[in-house]
Each structure stands twice: as structure tokens, then as C-alpha cells.
């Protein structure tokens, strides 16, 4: 508070000096201050590292069997073996990379489409907005996984198809959120003044609007990755992913196909399932803290858990309420 008060003491200072922790740096600061961000980043970072290092650290091959069918966990095979006699630990380490790449690629597609539709719709308004939002509405109401199943089933099982199908159907939520944000930014004074100074649409969008919706896009992307990874496992479970690729999804599918459930071989399923769960929790924690930082309204609550005290909340962490 004090820095802002000091810098606004004179009008000149307010115009020249960077006014305290605002804008992108403020948001970043807010995000990093939360414990959930650190925990989330740690989880995702650990999974990423182990996926990158998997060729060096995985104890066995993922193509040549090294033990018996559904051998339980032992000293030699920490997480046991799957239905083809492959080491589950090695499989999960290897599968992580592919799963995360699939999730990330699908998210990139979805974010590109979502941001483009959202910005076009929100910035230009009028018939562009009506048309794009109508299309979005249709996409929004169709159960995506069912459409994904049909497209992937007709198109043929392949990882590339899975990426495209997930990416092409996942952008609707992002488009709506970005549109709403762009609509409000468009009306702000500075954007109008820049337009008055003769800036073109391209310059306004790329220099003045996109940086403002950036954090929101990142928050959306982080949540979207979880959905993409989730959808990949679901499609893989239906046999629509590449049957030869090792992903967290196909590991679970192969285990189910080879009747791990009747063999009671939980170790063939649980590690991959838990890896997905950890990844999703990690991303979710990061995504939520970005959203929290972007939504100052959440910091106000007139009904506190502790008795009936009403406290001034300005400048306090959300946890203080």
C-alpha cells in the first residue's frame, strides 16, 4: 500500500515510476506466495523430470518381458509386473512422457483455437461474435468424449488422432472465458486512447489485450492439460489410442484387457492411475492458485468460519478469512 501512496504523491511520479506490484508481476507474486503453487509445481516437476530421465533410470525394458505374468511387487520389480511380463515401474516412467506430450499438444491446439475465437469474438463483437458464440454453444452442449470416441473409432486408433480430436473439442470453455475478459478490456480507457492514437487492430490485440488475458489463458491451459490427459486415458481405455504406444492410459487398458481385475493384480493398474492422479492434482493446484490470484473477489467473505467477527480483509491473504 505504502509504495502506491508514495508514487502517486505527484502526478509526474505516477506517470513515470513503475507503480508497485501491479499487473503481471503482481499476479506472479501472488501466485508464488501460495503454498499450493509450490506443491503443485513440485509434483509436476518431479513427474516431468522422471519422464525425461526414464531412458536412464527405468530398471527394465518396456518391450522385452523381464518377469512372469502379473508377478506381484518384489525386490527386483518394485511395482510388480503387468500381463505381458513387463516391469510396471519402467512402464509408468516411460508412459509419463508420452501422456504428458499428448496432453500438452492437445492443450496447445485447444488454447490456440480457444484464444483466437475468444479474442475475435470479444474484440470485434457484432456478427463475428454472434457467429462464433453460436458455434461454441453447439460444441459446448455435445458430450465431447462420445464425439471423440466416434471420430477416433472411424478415423482409426493413433496417438496423433487422439491429440487432434481432444484438442479440436476442448477449446470451448477457454473461448468463453477469454471472450468475456476481452470484452471488458476493450472498453477500458487505455485501449480506447491507443485506438484514438491510431493503433491498428493487430497492435491493440497483440500489444494491449493479449498480455492482459495472458495469465487467464495460462490458468485455463493448466486446467485443460488435466482434462486432456484424462481424456487420453479414457480413449486409450476404449482401445482408441495407439495400441503399441506406452502411455498411462494404455498401461491401464492393457492391464484390463489381460484380466488384471480377475487376477487381483492391482499393481498393474494402480501405479499408472496414481501417476495420472498426481499429475492432475499438481496441475490443478497451480491452475487454482492462478485463478485465485486473478479473482480478488474471492478474498472477501462476510461470513467467517470463526464466530461472528468481521475483519478488515484488505491486504490479507485469502487464508486469513
Amino acid at each position: 500500500m505504502s509504495t502506491i501512496l508514495n508514487t502517486t504523491a505527484t502526478p509526474e511520479a505516477a506517470l513515470t515510476a513503475p507503480a508497485g506490484p501491479t499487473g503481471f508481476r503482481y499476479v506472479l507474486h501472488e501466485i508464488m506466495r501460495q503454498r499450493s503453487t509450490i506443491v503443485g509445481l513440485a509434483i509436476v516437476g518431479l513427474l516431468l523430470l522422471s519422464a525425461i530421465a526414464s531412458p536412464f533410470i527405468s530398471p527394465y525394458s518396456v518391450t522385452v518381458s523381464s518377469c512372469g505374468v502379473f508377478d506381484p511387487p518384489s525386490a527386483a520389480h518394485w511395482l510388480g509386473c503387468d500381463g505381458a511380463g513387463l516391469d510396471v515401474l519402467s512402464l509408468v516412467l516411460h508412459g509419463g512422457g508420452v501422456s504428458m506430450i499428448v496432453g500438452l499438444s492437445a492443450t496447445l491446439i485447444a488454447m490456440t483455437v480457444g484464444a483466437s475465437v475468444g479474442v475475435l469474438s470479444g474484440y470485434f463483437g457484432g456478427w463475428v461474435d454472434v457467429l462464433l458464440m453460436r458455434i461454441t454453444d453447439y460444441f459446448l452442449v455435445v458430450p465431447q468424449i462420445v464425439l471423440m470416441i466416434v471420430i477416433a473409432a472411424v478415423w482409426g486408433p493413433s496417438l496423433f488422432h487422439v491429440v487432434v480430436v481432444i484438442g479440436a473439442l476442448m477449446w470451448t470453455g477457454t473461448a468463453r472465458v477469454i471472450r468475456a475478459q476481452v470484452m471488458s478490456i476493450r472498453e477500458r480507457v487505455y485501449v480506447r486512447r491507443v485506438a484514438g492514437l491510431g493503433a491498428g487492430h493487430g497492435r491493440i490485440v497483440f500489444r494491449h489485450i493479449l498480455p492482459q488475458v495472458g495469465p487467464l489463458l495460462v490458468a485455463n491451459a493448466v486446467i485443460a492439460i488435466t482434462v486432456a490427459v484424462f481424456d487420453e486415458t479414457a480413449l486409450a481405455f476404449l482401445g482408441l489410442s495407439d495400441p503399441d504406444a506406452v502411455t498411462w492410459g494404455t498401461i491401464m487398458e492393457h492391464a484390463f484387457d489381460r484380466a488384471a481385475t480377475s487376477a487381483g493384480a492391482w499393481w498393474a493398474i494402480a501405479p499408472a492411475g496414481l501417476a495420472v492422479a498426481f499429475f492432475i492434482v499438481g496441475c490443478y493446484l497451480v491452475g487454482r492458485s492462478i485463478e485465485d490470484a486473478l479473482n480478488p473477489r474471492l478474498r472477501v467473505s462476510y461470513l467467517s468460519a470463526h464466530s461472528w467477527r468481521l475483519r478488515p480483509l484488505v491486504g490479507k491473504k485469502p487464508e486469513a478469512i
Binding site: 453447439y138 462420445v146 480377475s262 498426481f278 493446484l285 473477489r297
Partner: protein, 320 residues
């Protein structure tokens, strides 16, 4: 009569969406590379005459618009073709599957709603306390579990205690209606449990954040200033308003209910529509695949419409 205008608009939107989906359903199987058409005519060692005969039998030699016209006409009469696998009309197959799915999914969804709202409200009202942390973290954890993982774990650890496959016992001892219902109910416990565990979390998180936003509104402050009891503020002021965005979000999560139901039906061999879709995928039974897609999608659209109309009933601002 602005109210009926709104209803009409929503119904029209739903009808148009269903029409688009039906068209998409037609095109997907004809336009995509490796589509049904090329697959059907790709019979190993088939003579050109046989190929031509098959293509003619399926009417694939007609121009596309004529096929489309025939398709729409048949669809309106409830004819979705014949299953390649069991040679029965797709409509009959799907109807049986549909009636098996509905009770399981309905019970699961309602339970998940009740539990989700309870957990969400409790954690929002007790924000920052131990019960909030437990509730929220538990919800995040279950939200993160892949449905198939949770289902298979439940199946493995409950095998022997409760029935884990199918909808009823093949060697039923008690053939009376009540005995049968009890048997189906027993078979339903584990699938429903899995569905509830995967769904309640999302609901809880949605309700919690919606409640938190509402608790920051000025009318809550006013209500407190008036000295209203805490319970009444939560119920009549906060929860009521928090339910509005919740209904929309839950309606939009219908898709994830469908996803969950498909995976759960596969794991627990529940003879429902998700399993029908799955076997259609496995055996490349295109008529069943098309029919299943259409039925599930139309159901979701109809429920979405219902949520929209409910929303309008609860929030007068929407109707304008």
C-alpha cells in the same frame, strides 16, 4: 409473455443442435478417411460384383444428398439400421441398453449432487479450517482419479463381497419381482459407488467456489447487519444464490457423467448404453456406433435444455 419467448428460444436451440448432430452423424461416417464406406467395400478376396452388391445394398452408390435425405427420413421413423453383430434393429438394442443405464446413472448422479453440495457448502462456510482442508483436498483427490482406475480398484478389492459383473445373477434363486429388484440393486452398488466417488468431487469444488463468491456479496453483509441467524443466511441468502451458477456448471458437466458412465459400464460389465458403444467400437459395428452416439448426445442435449429452463425459473433476470 416474455417467458414463453425464452422457452421457445431454448427449445429451438436444442432442436437445431440435434439436427446438426444428426447431420454430423451422417457425415462423419462418410467423409473421414477410412470411413465406413471404404471399410464396408473392403472385403478380403471379394469379387468386384460382390463389392458392388454390398455397396448397392447399403445404398452407398446413390448421390450423397439422396443418402442424406433417406437417412433423415429413416431417423424420423426411428429406424437407425440393423446391428452388424446380432442382426437386430439398432433401436431395439439401444432401447434395452438405455433402460439399463438410466437407473444406475440417475441414482449415482443424484447421490453425487447431494454429497457434493453438502461438502461444498460446508467447506465454503468453514473456509480455512481443518474441515475445509479435508473436504477440499479429498474432493481434489477424487476429482483427479481416473474413473477406470477407481473402478478397477473397487472391483478388485470388493470382489467376493459384492457382485462385480453384470446387472443380475444368471442363476437367480428368487424369481419374484422383489427378489429380482434386490438382486439388481446389489449389482448396482459398486458401479454407483464408483460413479458417485468420481462425480461428487467436481460438484463439491464448483459449489464451494460459487458459495465463496456469494459470501462476499454485499447482501450477505446486510443480512448479517440485520442480525439474522447464521443458518438462515447460509440457506436462504448464500446457498440460494450460489445454486444459480452451480446449475449451469453441473449441466455442462453432463458430458463427464457420460464419460464416467461409459467407463464404469465397461469395467462392471453393466449392459448399458456405454457398454453398447464400447462393443460397437471393438467390433466396428457402425450402425450401433452411430445410434449410440446419437442417443447419448440427444439425451445430454435434452438434459441441458432442462437445466436451462430450470435456471430461468430460478433466476428471473435470465428470462428477459
Amino acid at each position: 409473455m416474455y417467458r414463453s419467448g425464452y422457452v421457445l428460444r431454448r427449445v429451438a436451440f436444442a432442436v437445431v443442435t440435434i439436427y446438426i448432430i444428426a447431420t454430423l452423424n451422417f457425415l462423419l461416417f462418410r467423409v473421414l478417411p477410412g470411413s465406413a464406406v471404404t471399410r464396408i467395400s473392403r472385403i478380403p478376396n471379394a469379387s468386384p460384383e460382390l463389392k458392388a452388391a454390398v455397396i448397392h445394398q447399403f445404398g452407398l452408390d446413390k448421390p450423397l444428398w439422396e443418402q442424406y435425405w433417406i437417412y433423415l427420413g429413416q431417423l424420423l421413423r426411428g429406424n437407425m439400421g440393423v446391428s452388424y453383430v446380432n442382426q437386430q434393429p439398432v433401436t431395439d438394442n439401444l432401447w434395452t441398453a438405455f433402460t439399463n443405464t438410466i437407473p444406475m446413472v440417475a441414482i449415482g448422479t443424484i447421490l453425487a449432487l447431494v454429497i457434493g453440495i453438502a461438502v461444498g457448502v460446508l467447506s465454503a462456510v468453514r473456509r480455512g479450517t481443518a474441515s475445509d482442508h479435508i473436504g477440499t483436498n479429498l474432493a481434489v483427490l477424487f476429482y483427479a482419479f481416473p474413473t477406470q482406475f477407481l473402478g478397477m480398484m473397487i472391483l478388485i478389492f470388493a470382489a467376493g463381497v459384492l457382485p462385480v459383473a453384470g446387472m443380475s445373477d444368471a442363476f437367480e434363486l428368487d424369481p419374484s419381482t422383489w427378489g429380482h429388484l434386490l438382486d439388481v440393486g446389489k449389482h448396482m452398488i459398486l458401479p454407483v459407488l464408483t460413479l458417485v466417488l468420481t462425480l461428487f468431487a467436481e460438484n463439491a469444488l464448483i459449489v464451494r467456489s460459487s458459495m465463496l463468491e456469494t459470501l462476499g456479496e454485499d447482501y450477505i453483509l446486510t443480512a448479517r447487519a440485520k442480525g439474522l441467524p447464521r443458518r438462515r443466511i447460509i440457506r436462504a441468502y448464500a446457498l440460494r444464490n450460489a445454486m444459480l451458477p452451480t446449475i449451469t456448471l453441473i449441466a455442462l458437466s453432463l458430458g463427464s457423467i457420460v464419460t464416467g458412465a461409459i467407463l464404469i459400464e465397461i469395467i462392471f460389465s453393466w449392459p448399458g448404453i456405454g457398454r453398447a458403444l464400447y462393443s460397437a467400437v471393438l467390433s466396428r459395428d457402425y450402425p450401433m456406433l452411430q445410434g449410440g452416439f446419437l442417443v447419448i448426445t440427444v439425451t445430454v442435449i435434452v438434459f441441458n435444455l432442462a437445466a436451462d429452463l430450470l435456471y430461468a425459473k430460478l433466476d428471473p433476470r435470465i428470462r428477459a
